[in-house]
């Protein structure tokens, strides 16, 4: 789960990482306690908000009112701004970069630092990024930090402060089950001292249960996706018009790929998982209907899950709730023929192979 910048900064404060003084503002009543000039920052879970006009420096009360009105409700790459952070303006001497992420190949946290802060780390030359991998069995040790600093030249006081920030960020990364903690830029202030000007924190969804202090807003999800998440259904909205229901994430992805091969385009990824529970099947179809696809493509492989049990669930939903778009099915595996009979009986179109069903779905969706 991606946190908003302000939520990330709240965690930074908890871990003694200096951040600018600031607060969320809704209207001009909230400006009290802030000293002009200050900065208004749109809270969206996506980069590039500065360029989109989501960050503004304000000089006085009228300026602040006007710019807040402008930013609030703004559409930044599909995200409507509902929260604005007002922060003191800090003068910068130098911009640094610090992140801890997960290295999947080495299966360890990876610390990256650079003297080239402020820009997208992808565009920084590799030799200017210094990396250290931390074996979770030993954790972060002082030698890791010494190695990092042997390459990045900082004066003594700054180095000392930076190393404290690294060890605190590592604690935050581990304690809060983070996928990513990034501070970009981490600045050296004109008047000395380090400060995190931005925050990017992603917490592993699977670990949210042990972080009840974080309000799960799932800012990056659509409202239907949020609804699905609450029901424990793996559901993703895409930009096509064919709703795909399959069992297993790999098979669902492969089904979307097959549609593309026939110039069709998936609009929903819905993974039933290993379930043949009629209630789950019903919920899945209800969600799918709300996404309003032009065609639904149901692709099942029955291994442990029996095809006919799922088919019965599907038939029951369609007979009870009705469905106003064509449903193409392709069924393979355990009790396949019984399942096909049930679905035909429910008025659904059955394809013989994945290719056949994908072709049918794609042409109907055109």
């Amino acid at each position: 789960m991606k946190l908003y910048e302000y939520q990330g900064k709240e965690l930074f404060e908890k871990y003694k990482i200096p951040v600018p003084k600031g607060k969320l503002v809704k209207n001009d009543d909230d400006f009290s306690g802030l000293h002009f000039p200050f900065v208004l920052k749109a809270q969206v879970p996506i980069g590039g908000r500065g360029k989109a006009g989501g960050i503004k420096i304000v000089e006085n009360l009228n300026d602040a009112k006007e710019k807040l009105l402008h930013i609030m409700g703004m559409d930044i790459k599909g995200f409507i701004v509902r929260k604005v952070l007002a922060e003191e303006k800090v003068d910068t001497k130098k911009e640094l970069y610090l992140s801890i992420s997960l290295d999947r190949t080495k299966r360890m946290p990876l610390i990256m630092i650079s003297g080239q802060g402020g820009m997208d780390i992808e565009s920084v030359a590799d030799e200017l990024i210094f990396k250290e991998w931390i074996n979770p069995l030993i954790g972060l040790q002082p030698f890791h930090i010494r190695e990092l600093f042997s390459k990045l030249k900082l004066d003594k006081a700054e180095g000392k402060e930076f190393s404290k920030i690294i060890s605190n960020i590592y604690k935050l990364f581990r304690n809060y089950d983070c996928e990513l903690v990034e501070i970009n830029p981490l600045i050296i202030r004109a008047d000395g001292g380090l400060m995190a000007l931005d925050s990017k924190v992603i917490i592993n969804d699977d670990a949210m249960y042990r972080h009840s202090d974080i309000i799960p807003e799932h800012v990056e999800l659509t409202s239907l996706e949020k609804d699905a998440k609450e029901k424990g259904i793996s559901f993703i909205q895409l930009d096509g018009n064919i709703g795909v229901i399959a069992n297993g994430a790999g098979l669902t992805m492969a089904t979307l790929d097959a549609l593309t091969h026939y110039n069709g385009k998936g609009g929903v990824f819905l993974d039933l998982g290993g379930t043949d529970d009629p209630e789950k099947v019903k919920q899945a179809f209800e969600l799918m209907k709300k996404a309003k696809p032009k065609v639904i493509f149901l692709n099942l492989f029955g291994g442990i899950t029996k095809c006919d049990t799922v088919a019965k669930g599907v038939k029951a939903v369609i007979e009870k709730e009705g469905i106003d778009c064509p449903v193409i099915t392709r069924i393979k595996g355990m009790n396949e023929s019984a399942a096909k009979d049930i679905l035909k009986d429910a008025g659904l179109i059955t394809g013989t192979t994945l290719q056949d069903a994908a072709e049918k779905s794609s042409s109907l969706a055109r």
Binding site: P136, L251, D257, G274, T353
Partner: protein, 288 residues
């Protein structure tokens, strides 16, 4: 021969008395797996399909000589369960459980390495060697004894591919589900290395998907170390960037993990790629 497991593995099941545990102990026994013990805290003395249940792994190992553990416990208790198994003489751990926080997985994967144990998963269907053993939740009826080694990041998609091989009369040596999480214990490279050494395996099928660089790493390894023919399917060619496609590990993040990059890497390594999952069987028939 087979890879990682064979008919001699003595399996204990952690989470034996739940719905899943009871069902899959039965399925494994039907397949011929030596299931010797179950473990559920507080349920010592019970039996599941005549398999004795113990309170803890240590007692089960002492009584039955189990050397392999299958983890079916809920995600919140998985780290504890895996550590408990690894802290005995158990040398193979198969973790089926889904939604384990990856920080937990990171810890037990490194602990397994330190203990010189094989850890398969998490979030995987397990491993099956037709005619010998099945440790996991893979459907037993899709397999056939033969010479194709299969390693995969997904579940159902693998069943589909194995089933289409079997329908063509092509059997399998071992089929291992590596898991759909970003952090897994056994990788494509581990499986490739084992299949290359295994005399019964004549050709290898890899089922990959978007996210991470496991396929790219495998392609490089194939070029340098693998002499047997390799076939592959990659799921998620049309998945958008930044969306987690069902599996925790299936996400294109910061430009990394795209299907194009994986397809390019496999092409370069002379791996034959299938457009549709069931095409794998045609390719193996033709070139395997």
């Amino acid at each position: 021969m087979s890879i990682f497991v064979d008919k001699n593995n003595k399996v204990l099941v952690q989470g034996a008395t739940g719905h899943q545990g009871v069902f899959h102990i039965g399925e494994m026994l039907n397949f011929g797996t030596k299931v010797v013990a179950g473990v559920t805290p507080g349920k010592a003395g019970e039996e599941v399909h005549s398999v004795p249940v113990f309170d803890n792994v240590k007692a089960a190992v002492e009584e039955t000589g189990a050397d392999t553990s299958l983890i079916l416990v809920p995600a919140r208790f998985a780290k504890d369960a895996v550590f408990e198994a690894l802290d005995t003489t158990i040398k193979t751990v198969v973790v089926i459980t889904e939604n384990i926080p990856f920080h937990d997985a990171m810890e037990f994967v490194h602990y397994a390495k330190y203990k010189n144990a094989i850890l398969i998963g998490p979030n995987c269907p397990g491993i099956a060697s037709p005619g010998k053993t099945k440790i996991g939740i893979l459907p037993g009826n899709i397999f056939k004894v033969g010479n194709v080694g299969v390693a995969s990041r997904s579940g159902t998609l693998t069943y589909e591919i194995v089933n289409s091989l079997t329908e063509k009369g092509i059997g399998q040596s071992t089929c291992v589900g590596l898991g759909g999480d970003p952090i897994i214990g056994t990788t494509f490279i581990d499986a490739l290395d084992a299949f290359e050494k295994d005399k019964e395996t004549k050709s290898i099928v890899l089922v990959g998907e978007i996210g991470g660089t496991a396929e790219e790493d495998a392609a490089e390894y194939i070029t340098e170390h693998i002499s047997k023919p390799v076939f592959a399917f990659i799921a998620g060619r049309t998945a958008p960037s930044g969306k987690r496609m069902g599996h925790a590990g299936a996400i294109i993040a910061r430009g990394k993990g795209t299907a194009e990059s994986k397809i390019k890497a496999f092409d370069k390594a002379d791996v034959k790629l299938a457009k549709f999952p069931t095409d794998i069987a045609d390719l193996v028939e033709k070139f395997g």
